[in-house]
């Protein structure tokens, strides 16, 4: 069975380590915060100027001056800090954030990522995504493997304008966990019950498949 959005987030959460500073993008990455493993403490960085993002506020504690990068009202945890956008991106660009999780429209086997515009159709702007992919060593991309017409988004070469060049090394989709190295995707794990054949069928890129591809464990 293909993973749900929540299960993709759960699998990403397994990569969290105690003491990590983590930046979570909008969408599935945001859900990762719900599945932080027991005994692991992380500080969430929100690029609008908050280190130590907490859960959503109650009606009583809602504060329009306290939002996350998705412009949602949030809270700050014990030990949190506020700072300017310049300071925030110094943390990101300077490689001080331990793990970045973000979404994408397309990823290719050279490690290129496209996530910020579809020419003529959709212009959201890149926000902080270009800085995040350029600044982080440790990035996980969460995305769907193919679009709703079955067209692969795991490509030999991205077709949309890039967010970053040669910067992505790990991708988790509803079907698989893959690593990018030496100009190809490498199949590391598959979603429980999903066959290697199905993953191959939905992957346009070169895919290296080892003899044994374990199922993800939850």
């Amino acid at each position: 069975m293909a993973l749900t959005r929540e299960q993709i987030a759960m699998r990403v959460a397994q990569e969290l380590e105690d003491g990590f500073y983590v930046n979570l993008g909008i969408g599935i990455p945001t859900l990762v915060a719900n599945y932080i493993p027991e005994g692991v403490k992380v500080m969430l960085q929100s690029e609008n100027g908050l280190l130590g993002m907490g859960q959503f506020p109650t009606e009583e504690t809602i504060d329009p001056d306290l939002i996350n990068a998705g412009k949602q009202t949030v809270t700050a945890v014990t030990g949190a800090a506020f700072f300017s956008s310049a300071e925030s991106f110094a943390m990101i660009r300077g490689g001080h954030v331990d793990l970045t999780v973000l979404g994408a429209f397309e990823v290719d086997q050279e490690g290129n990522i496209a996530s910020w515009m579809i020419p003529g159709k959709l212009v959201k702007g890149m926000g902080g995504a270009m800085d995040l992919v350029a600044g982080a060593e440790n990035i996980i991309v969460t995305m769907t493997h193919a679009n709703k017409h079955g067209v692969s988004k795991i490509l030999k070469k991205c077709t949309l304008p890039l967010t970053g060049a040669q910067c992505i090394k790990r991708v988790i989709t509803e079907l698989a966990l893959m690593e990018i190295k030496d100009g190809a995707f490498h199949l590391i794990e598959r979603a429980p019950g999903v066959s290697v054949e199905e993953i191959q069928e939905k992957t346009e890129a070169d895919l290296v498949v080892p003899d044994d591809v374990p199922e993800m464990k939850f």
Partner: protein, 233 residues
Amino acid sequence: MSGFDKVVHSYEEALEGFTDNMTVMVGGFGLCGIPEGLIEQVYKMGCSGLTAISNNAGVDGFGLGKWLEKRQISTMIGSYVGENELFEKLLLSGEMEVILTPQGTLAEKIRAGGAGIPAFFTATGFGTQVAEGKETRNIDGRDYVLEPSLTADFALIKAWKADTMGNLIFNKTAMNFNPMMATAGKITVAEVEEIVEAGELDPNYIHTPGIYVQRVIKGNSFEKRIEQRTVRA
């Protein structure tokens, strides 16, 4: 207003000298930490041909969205269009020039502008549209893009507290782009929630020193509209 007394008492006074075709920075992230009254005043004045530098352009009908309504902006420099339909329409139709800039690069361009640094190299955007036409350089094996810095005729910012000398303190994530913009405006106007006498703010906790601020106005009221109201059960 004289000497080190930066306080002005009307929005007209706060924006004296603001004219058509100026470059203006406007603080805020989304609708958080925007100088609501100053934005409204520019809207009333109807100045046009503006180059606006702001992370976002408000929402339809609020914040910089109002300037868009009146077509006051000819060039917009920002990082995120988001859910602003009019902005997206003006961009796609080419009616307004939009220079989309990565958020961290935008912040650093403003910081550098205020700090007297004319340009800097960053890895952000290398190999993308953002780098097209720009000088690049390989430094120690990594590729970087040369990004020129930004300054403005006016910087319109929002702070939480000010003293009469223009020292500023921001509140939580309403800080965002405001401190850098304060440094990069030839005339920086801070709209604040509270003005206290000089000496009442602890010098240890000043975010923006008064040297960067030319005018301070206490805002009439702040709506502080929330874009994504999210609460837990």
